[in-house]
């Protein structure tokens, strides 16, 4: 480009000399020359630059501490958690592992509208990318720690269909050495006192009755193993992290004023979409920060409105024996700020679901909590029809929706996890 400009300048100068009057110097941005106006395309105000920086992965703070899980950063726990994550032995039919729905090859999701384990679940598999940065887990936030989330599907009849006692027995039989290297010595758990079919999980009445028939001390023994099982899985899952995407490299380039470089990193259609995303389309009202989420719960007026979402999850998490304030948590109560100051306004959260991360969003259709939309086009069309103080998109043209879609595509990057 520099060479072309030089040639044109010489040409302009020599023509001016020949004709004997000064030639206007062609602007570097002249459309007629076919050259891009890099300033107009990639220059941003100070305020916009700060906003772009806040969305870039370079703004992602270090992996947050998890005071509820004393083993969160123990490499042995991470290695054990990885074994657990991929082990289909923790399921009723020996075929379902965490990785059945959270498949590494497809960004730790399954590309299905509803998760499929032993049966069909009621909601879509959540992406695990950057999950350690969440305050609340599941679409409705019914758990407040990553490890207490990880153990819920194990004893859900539609997911792993396993039981809490079977989980403890399996760890005793198959993982005793690895478990004891990380956690305490495993207590003896007898099949008489801890019958394998006992569990308080969702959807299995017989298992619940067997669980209730157990002695409190036996339930406590099993609960401790079950909690540690979750803590090991969490030690692995918390390292499933996004790596720089074209958007992040673009932000670097515009910050260092390398506008020619910036122009090669994402398409001009995507740049137009980015300007809409941070500007008129107001997407950053909810999708903010380097993970593109406020971590909050919103009812955006989706079809399939019968699911109470967050409104029902408030009591679930407050009553969960594995929550931050519970006896199996390693946190001090003053560290449980999210749970202690939970907004319990159920009216406000009717039909509300978590704002998901947009990192790698283009790679994981379908969308929304039950996969209501097959494509990003459908999602964007829906948001154009929606209107509230928060979501005000109906003025966007077809072209602009395509531009936003192109921008979303620039958020796809590699996902790292412990190998």
């Amino acid at each position: 480009m520099a060479a072309a400009k030089a040639v044109l300048s010489i040409w302009g100068f020599s023509l001016a000399c020949l004709l004997g009057f000064p030639m206007p110097v062609l602007p570097a941005s002249g459309d007629s020359t076919g050259r891009p106006d890099l300033q107009a395309l990639h220059a941003y105000s100070e305020e916009e630059l700060a906003l772009l920086r806040s969305l870039s992965l370079s703004s992602l703070p270090p992996l947050p501490q998890d005071p509820t899980n004393a083993h969160a950063d123990d490499p042995r726990a991470r290695a054990l958690g990885k074994l657990f994550f991929f082990d289909p032995g923790f399921s009723a039919n020996g075929e379902v592992s965490c990785a059945t729905c959270h498949q590494p090859a497809t960004g730790f999701t399954d590309l299905l509208p509803l998760a499929k384990g032993i049966g069909i679940n009621t909601r879509r598999t959540m992406p695990l990318i950057g999950v350690a940065y969440n305050a609340w887990f599941f679409w409705d936030g019914r758990r407040d720690t990553l490890w207490s989330q990880a153990i819920v599907p194990i004893e859900n009849a539609q997911e792993h269909g396993f039981t809490r006692t079977m989980c403890a027995h399996r760890i005793f039989d198959r993982y005793r050495k690895e478990y004891e290297a990380v956690f305490d010595k495993l207590p003896a758990i007898s099949h008489t006192h801890c019958p394998p079919h006992a569990s308080p999980g969702v959807g299995n009445a017989a298992a619940l009755a067997a669980w209730k028939a157990m002695q409190p001390a036996d339930r406590d023994k099993v609960n401790l193993i079950y909690a540690n099982f979750g803590k090991a899985i969490a030690a692995f899952v918390r390292h499933i992290l996004p790596q720089p995407a074209p958007f992040d490299r673009y932000v670097e380039a515009v910050h260092t004023k390398d506008l020619a470089g910036a122009d090669t990193l994402i398409s001009r259609e995507a740049v137009a979409g980015l300007r809409l995303f941070i500007g008129r389309a107001k997407c950053t009202n909810c999708h903010l920060g380097p993970l593109f989420t406020n971590g909050g719960f919103h009812n955006v007026g989706l079809p399939n409105a019968s699911d109470p979402g967050r409104a029902q999850a408030i009591d679930d998490v407050l009553n969960d024996e594995f929550n931050c304030l519970g006896k199996y948590s390693d946190a001090k109560s003053e560290q449980c700020t999210e749970l202690r100051f939970i907004d319990t306004n159920r009216q406000k959260y009717g039909g509300a679901f978590k704002t998901p991360t947009l990192r790698n969003v283009a790679e994981r259709p379908p969308y929304m909590h039950v996969g209501q939309f097959k494509s990003l086009d459908e999602v964007l069309l829906f948001y154009r029809l929606s209107s509230s103080n928060e979501i005000e998109h109906q003025q966007l043209t077809e072209t602009e929706l395509q531009q936003i879609k192109a921008f979303l595509g620039t958020l796809s990057g590699p996902i790292s996890y412990p190998r």
Binding site: T284, G295, N299, A305, D343, Y349, G350, S387, S388, E390
Partner: protein, 142 residues
């Protein structure tokens, strides 16, 4: 065009649906003062934030200093907290409350979390003896 789910109980309400006494965005810096007199002039209230910068998406706490109109510390106040974003029709994602009466008219307000940048208001209702009054602080967060 209305909300696509007007009957949804948890839908994002609009500012127009909020009760009367609609807050007005300040037009100058004095509107964002950290020391204010309550609406009916019964108390003088000042806040400091910890941390001072008020980062988005993190739980922070405030210290609230309450005095009578003539400057005496109010040490027996019952205080309730409400945060709102008037232009967006939503409040805080948390439910903050006073967790400690530190003494000398100072109260610790814990559990404040601002979910996005922009104009926020924080309203405190203060009751001491037979006196009740209310104060609203405006904040412009980045």
């Amino acid at each position: 065009m209305g909300h696509p789910c007007p009957s949804c109980p948890g839908k994002m309400t609009t500012a127009a649906e909020k009760p009367a006494d609609v807050p007005q965005k300040p037009t100058d810096a004095s509107g964002y003062a950290k020391t204010m007199t309550t609406k009916e002039g019964k108390f003088k209230v000042a806040y400091t934030s910890e941390p001072e910068a008020m980062p988005i998406g993190q739980i922070i706490s405030w210290k609230l200093k309450v005095q009578t109109a003539d400057g005496k510390p109010v040490t027996d106040a019952a205080i309730t907290v409400d945060g709102d974003m008037p232009e967006h029709g939503h409040g805080l994602p948390t439910a903050p409350r006073v967790t400690e009466n530190i003494g000398d008219g100072t109260y610790l307000v814990s559990g404040i979390k601002f979910s996005m940048p922009g104009w926020w208001i924080m309203t405190f209702t203060i009751k001491s003896g037979d006196k009740t009054d209310r104060v609203t602080f405006n904040l412009q967060l980045k």
